[in-house]
């Protein structure tokens, strides 16, 4: 199965950006990672089982590309997170706090947190996307939740 790249971009561009943002922590690199994932899809002739398969593939490519950017010695200067947050339109203070505390988590925790809470993936699906064992996903999810509970307190419910 193949879908038009432009249609996929309209549907998934923001989600690819948000996932890559969890890795990079800045908009410019996240933008690059999202666009690279779509470009790779466009240039590939890979066949997919269904649209969910395409979505998971795009997310995996965007996350991996974002990791490469993050490790690059020659990465360009980017807007600090606090300054970038000033450009975002949160609808309430609680959202701003959650955003800030999630971005303060170690990258490996916040990426799992994001795929679980934002993309609604199961721990098994997250393991496949990130190429890690389900047990590792569960540990990272648990530790991420504990840290959010410690910093957000009553804003973040016990689970």
């Amino acid at each position: 199965m193949r879908l038009e790249t432009q249609a996929l971009a309209e549907q998934y561009r923001d989600r690819l950006f948000a996932a890559a943002f969890q890795v990079c922590g800045n908009a410019a690199d996240a933008e690059d990672a999202a666009q690279e994932a779509l470009l790779r899809y466009h240039l590939s002739d890979k066949e997919f089982e269904n649209q969910e398969h395409i979505r998971a593939w795009l997310l995996r490519v965007a996350v991996n590309w974002a990791k490469n950017i993050s490790r690059s010695f020659w990465r360009r200067n980017t807007l600090p997170l606090e300054e970038y947050m000033e450009t975002l339109e949160f609808d309430c203070q609680e959202s701003r706090e959650i955003f800030r505390e999630v971005m303060a988590l170690p990258e490996k925790y916040r990426l799992v947190i994001h795929l679980y809470y934002y993309e609604d993936y199961s721990v098994e699906e997250i393991g496949r996307i990130l190429g890690i064992r389900v047990s590792n996903v569960k540990v990272r999810l648990s530790r991420g939740r504990q840290m959010l509970k410690a910093t957000l307190q009553e804003v973040w419910d016990d689970e």
Binding site: F17, R40, R71, F99, V102, Y117, W156
Partner: protein
């Protein structure tokens, strides 16, 4: 509102730029197709760039690339750089139709992370504190038709080599994946 709903509300503020650069994507796609039909026989070409010299005792090996591909030796009055073009240690293995990255003890399937336009990159620091940057890409449709570059960087020296790519007269290479990586990362070579 539960945690999931709160999380989605908080991160719904993130939006990619509205204008996807489709012109750039289409241009890259056309370049990709042109290169598919115009592939030349690639030679094992190597270039070395040396940007700084620090005096040291003669005969001392100051640093080396992974696999011993490149050595930087101190000599009287400066340094010598040797790249073993006749016996390069390859950074990948092709097994069962997949490409495996084997530098620095890794055994990583990078088949889906490499193409003619996008490079796979990898960075590590060795015991001497030298940072190694690996850049790999494809020069054709077949996995066996790959090229690579390794760059080394220390406090006093930086340089590298590329292999299995062709040099243009203006100092660039004909490897789209490598030239894009250099441009995106402000690489000085």
């Amino acid at each position: 509102m539960n945690n999931r709903e709160k999380y989605k509300r908080a991160f719904s503020v993130l939006h990619a730029s509205q204008e996807t650069d489709w012109e750039a994507i289409m241009k890259t796609s056309r370049e990709h197709n042109m290169r598919k039909t115009g592939t030349k026989l690639l030679l094992a070409a190597v270039l070395v760039s040396l940007l700084a010299i620090t005096a040291s005792a003669a005969g001392v090996r100051l640093m080396q690339g992974w696999g011993g591909n490149m050595e930087v030796l101190s000599v009287e009055g400066g340094m010598e750089v040797h790249v073993h073009t006749d016996n390069l240690t390859e950074p990948v293995e092709i097994r069962d139709g997949r490409m495996w990255f084997v530098v620095n003890g890794e055994n990583r399937d990078i088949t889906d992370e490499i193409s003619q336009t996008e490079a796979f990159t990898y960075t590590f620091m060795d015991e001497q504190g030298i940072t190694h940057y690996w850049v790999l890409g494809l020069n054709g449709e077949e996995l066996e038709n790959y090229g690579y570059a390794e760059y080394l960087k220390s406090d006093t020296w930086q340089g590298g080599y590329s292999a299995r790519v062709n040099d243009n007269p203006d100092g660039t290479t004909d490897a789209v994946w490598l030239e894009r990586w250099k441009q995106e990362n402000n690489c000085p070579w």
